[in-house]
Every structure is written in structure tokens, then in C-alpha cells.
């Protein structure tokens, strides 16, 4: 179990289809910290997040009231409304409390769309609805897998800013982030994962060399051309 005031979490070795995808490791989680897990495709980022969420065999299950997990590309099989999706976050508490759901929709800046169906809003708005589901649980720790994947730069920035604010308000936030620039810009700390091992664990501002090495790019080279909107609340 992850203690409320953070601490060391040990992760057992994980094999999928007889292939070791994650080696045994320990990492520290702290409340009030936005931790980004970065690394190339196949490095084991999603597996590490699932292990932290207690969803893999051999890992200890988490208290669903205290840990909220959002898988990559989460979507609803049915055309639920934004409100109905957010309401699912109350299932761990076995209640239908309205106040936390309203707060979650407000936090995720999607309250005005609460009666719209999630299949009839934009991809960025639908992602916010899925995030609102995690927020509605009011957990101590958020585990989010690529919450900005497939979003345009402005929408991605805005979600990373939301997560940074959430961490600054005292929650623990762990985010698997493919885009190294977003991680460096918004996270407090970055874990670089390479071939199932933690290659680096350091403050975000110092992470560029380790990221460049893991991605196999020359030191300091921008991973890809960027188009970033003006950022009026720089995190560092």
C-alpha cells in the first residue's frame, strides 16, 4: 500500500508472455509532486504504471478510494454523458455524492458540458471527461497513462497545467508521458525508463541528457519540432 504521506513503493519483476518487461525496482512517491515516467516505446512505462495501480499479477491491489488510474486511450463503450462518466468515479465510495463530481468537472474545466454525450464532444473534451472521472474519486494519488496522447499542443499543455496544479495542491500525480518536452516543462521529477529498468530518476530540469540518451538522440537535440502556445504560468 502506498502511504498517504508518500514513501518507497517496491515493484516486483513483471513478465508478459515469458518476456521480462519490467525488472524489480523501488521508487519513491511523494504527495505534492508531479512525477513523469518517460522512455522510448516498449520501455515498460505502462507496465510500471499498471504495477503501481496493483492491476498486474503479483502486485498488491490498491484501495480504489485512494488511488485513481486512467489507462491510455480510455473511452466509454456507451454514449454516456460527461456527468455520467464523472459519476463513475464515485463507484469506489459506493455513493452518488454530487459535490465531488461537480468539483471534478469544475477542476477539469468541463462543467458546462456536463449534459453532453462523450461521443459528441471533441477529443480534448472527452479526455477531460475521463480525467474528471479520476478527479471525482478524490484520491490521494493519480496514476495517468499518456493523458495527453493524440491531443493538439494547446490541449496537451492545458491538461499538463491542470495536473501540475493538482500536484501543487498536495496530491500525488504520476503520469506516463511520451512527449519529453511536456514532461520537462511541467513535471517536478522525471523517471527515465529504458528496457524495463529505471535509467534515471532526477528533477525535471536536469533530465534532458538522460532523456536524450534513452531516446538515442544526440545530447540536447530537440526530440521533434514543437509548436507551443505561450505559457503564462511556467512551472519552474
Amino acid at each position: 500500500m502506498i502511504p498517504a504521506n508518500g514513501g518507497e513503493v517496491s515493484v516486483p519483476p513483471i513478465s508478459l508472455n515469458h518476456r521480462r518487461v519490467l525488472h524489480a525496482t523501488t521508487l519513491s512517491l511523494r504527495p505534492g509532486e508531479l512525477l513523469a515516467i518517460c522512455g522510448p516505446n516498449g520501455a515498460g512505462k505502462t507496465t510500471l504504471l499498471r504495477a503501481l495501480a496493483g492491476l498486474l499479477p503479483g502486485t498488491s491491489p490498491r484501495d480504489p478510494r485512494r488511488v485513481a488510474y486512467l489507462p491510455q486511450g480510455a473511452r466509454s463503450a456507451w454514449a454516456l454523458t460527461v456527468w455520467q462518466v464523472a459519476m463513475l468515479g464515485r463507484i469506489p465510495h459506493c455513493d452518488a455524492a454530487l459535490a465531488p463530481v461537480t468539483r471534478a468537472l469544475q477542476n477539469c474545466d468541463i462543467l458546462p458540458l456536463r449534459d453532453r454525450r462523450v461521443d459528441r464532444i471533441s477529443g480534448g473534451e472527452a479526455r477531460r471527461a475521463m480525467l474528471a472521472r479520476a478527479f471525482a474519486t478524490e484520491p490521494d494519488l493519480f496514476l495517468l497513462d499518456e493523458p495527453t496522447a493524440d491531443l493538439d499542443p494547446a490541449a496537451a499543455q492545458s491538461i499538463m497545467r491542470l495536473l501540475r496544479r493538482t500536484a501543487d495542491a498536495g496530491r500525488g500525480v504520476v503520469v506516463v508521458q511520451h512527449a519529453a518536452d511536456l514532461a520537462i516543462r511541467h513535471a517536478h521529477r522525471i523517471i527515465v525508463l529504458d528496457a524495463g529498468r529505471i535509467a534515471a530518476d532526477l528533477p525535471a530540469r536536469d533530465a534532458l541528457p538522460a532523456l536524450a540518451a534513452a531516446f538515442g538522440l544526440p545530447f540536447g537535440l530537440d526530440p521533434e519540432p514543437r509548436l507551443l502556445p505561450a505559457d503564462d504560468d511556467p512551472p519552474h
Binding site: L70, P71, A77, T81, A99
Partner: protein, 325 residues
Amino acid sequence: MPRTSEPGTIAHPVIGLAALVAILLVLSLLVGDGILALPDQLILIQIRLPRTLLAVLVGGGLGLSGAVLQGALRNPLADPGLLGITGTAGLGAAVVFYWGLAAQFAPALPLGGLAGAAIGAGLLLAFAGRAPSGPSLILAGIAVSALSAALLALALCLAPNPFALAEITFWLLGGLNDRSLVHVALAAPPILLGVAILLRLGPGLDALSLGEETAASLGVPVARTLRLAAAGTALAAGGGAAVAGGIGFVGLVVPHLLRPLLGQRPAALLPASLLAGAALLLAADLLVRIAPLVLPLSQPLPLGVLTALLGAPFVVVIARGKPAP
């Protein structure tokens, strides 16, 4: 300001459906086979009452298990027949016909159907494994269906005489005519138990809307929910098939009829699907009885044939309409 999830949309359609079931129930007691006359007490209790009660039980069980399966498997085309239990119930009844047991002991037929449904449910849960996922449950259902279809074809090939063959075939078409209170007494316990199991799965089905992994992270026991959905369907739909034969499309169509009224949240559909299934089968069985008044029929229209005739166009509409996102 904050409001409940579906303001005003839960209560009214359910009350309306309950009223519809009540009206159809009275009509079903009053309308006979091709005659519109008030029945005497004997006909009312021995013929109309069992038929009416079975329509409510069988239709409700099919409607509810359709809604639960579509939610559990996140598939708008799921139907109780998908799990193969209806097939094994038919096989159980066919075996009874095959040995001519029904002629000596009337309840042998529903008992054979129940035994077939129970064996099918056991096979289904065994094939699906200890920790089933949606796809593994569907594959297990396909395996059970294929097995029962093969064994049924074998029973038909080896039928001892043409009468047995005709009897098996006709029974498999499904119907509620000539059933007695014994049938009701045999079918009610499994159907009611199945309904009780299925009605409790609502929150788990809602969580499954976001996928099995998210549901697990919300603390929902996914494998247990799927096994209960399968077991509840085996009881509710298998118990019905054991007394009424193969009645298709009710479980498939009912949730689709309700979604425009109630929204798509799976739990919101459960009680309404129970009532709408009952209403649909009561109405279909009334049509079967009224049909000889308007159509030149030498035989009563089999109920399963009627539901399939009405249901097939719905499948086309579902397939052509916008699929769930």
C-alpha cells in the same frame, strides 16, 4: 447546479412500462386463441393464466439478461442466445422427445430443458476459465452453441420416427401455448433467481463501460461480475428456454428500444429491460392468438417465429445506425 444523473428519466418510463405490463397482462387473460370472449374459470386458470405468467417470466428474463450481457460484454449485439444456454436447453428438450419420455410424463420436457440449460451453464463457465474476460466469455458461448447445435443435428438425424422429428422441430420454434401451471412452477425458481442475480450487477456494469482495466481499478471484481452475468443469464434465459423453446431477439431488441428513452448507462436499463421484455413477449403472444382472426392460418404461428420476424428488421436498423462510440 448539481443534479442527479438522469433527471426525471428513470422514474417515468419505468412506471409507464409497469402500467403497460399490467394492461397487457389483463388482455392476455381475456383473449383466447382466435376467439374474443370472456373465459370461464377453468380456462382462465388452466390455460390463460400459465400462458400469461410464462410470458411475463420468460420475456422479463430475456429482456433483463440481454441488457446485462450487452453491458457486461460492451457489445450492442449481445443476446442471451450468444452464450449457448438456449441451445443446450433446446437440446435437453430434444433428448426427451427423442426417447418419447414426454408422452409418459408431461413435466419431463421442461425438466429435460432445465437439465440441458444447467449442463450448458456448467460447460460455459468451465470453458470461460477462472478469470474470464469479455472475449473469452463470448468464445466459450460460441463453443457451447456449436456443441449443442451439432448434438441437436445428430438427434434430428437419428430421430426414431418422423413424429419425433416433427415434435422436436416444432418445439424448438418456441411457444407458450399448451403450457400448464406445472411449467410455471418449474420455470419460475430459476428465472426469479437469475433475475435477482442480474439486477444486482448494475454498478459493476456501469464501471465496465470504461473497460475491464478501469473497472478493476475502480474496485469492481471484473471476473466475478462476468461469471455472475453468465450464471444469471443461464438461469433467467435458460429457465425460460426450458419451458418455452427458442424465443430469439427479445433480449437483443429490448435494450435498444429503451436506450433512446433512458440513455445508455447500463445500470439505468436493467429494471426497465425486465419490464419491457415482459411487455414485448406478452404483446407478441397476444399477436399469436389474434393472428388466426385476420390471417388464414391452419396452425398457430409459433411465438419464436413471430419474435424473429419482428426482430430481424431491428438488427438491420441497429447495424445501419450509428454504432456505439
